[in-house]
Symmetry: C2
Subunit: 122 residues, 2 copies
């Protein structure tokens, strides 16, 4: 089974990928058939080609993530983190919590982002 350290390392790599402006490093954390729902309640993005495009756009907008506290694990195959996203291209800040589910190979199979209209400041 995937370790807590492995999952937390992947979430930190997600933050670091944004910091480095490296969309491929972020996308490569995901499995080929992964699903992301960002934010929860909007249509999911299915599969790596769409996910690659999603993160290419996010990083092209200059988005940077700052953790609100330590990354959390679980007693299973999920980890989560609370963070603030600065999006210079849109002159806004979003407060989010991402929950990621991992496959046995260490790739993220699902990401769900909790943030709503009230969690944006401009």
């Amino acid at each position: 089974m995937l370790s807590q350290e492995d999952m937390k390392r992947a979430l930190q790599a997600y933050i670091d990928g944004f910091a480095a402006g490296d969309a491929a490093a972020v996308s490569d954390l995901f499995a080929a058939d992964a699903v992301i729902e960002d934010p929860v309640g909007t249509p999911p993005v299915h599969g790596r080609p769409a996910i690659d495009e999603f993160y290419a756009n996010a990083i092209a907008a200059g988005s940077k993530l700052t953790l609100d506290g330590p990354i959390r694990g679980s007693h299973g195959n999920q980890a989560a983190m609370a963070f603030t996203v600065e999006v210079p291209a849109m002159n806004m800040r979003i407060r989010a919590i991402d929950v990621m589910t991992f496959g046995e190979d260490g790739k993220v199979v699902e990401m769900r982002a909790l943030w709503g209209p009230d969690d944006i400041e401009s």
Copy 2:
């Protein structure tokens, strides 16, 4: 549909119920057939009688919750928060993220708590 404000108010009431040592106030946020998985990866607790007992025990241990940042909503029926739990009876501190799913009546139908063995300090 339940508003973002309604969901965030319920999560704040959860924090406040612990602060007040009021287990019933916390339990009453949940639907009769709610399910809690705290932490994720352990056997779920089903239904109000078991949930009532779960929170009676947590509050008897003196647990207090401090938010790590603002409560997050979503574009759907979920909200989430990152917080630190102080448990004086066990001389420990747990860093957690709770994700709550709401029914149309405003009651919580599912709560999932993300924290692992590494998220405990003693």
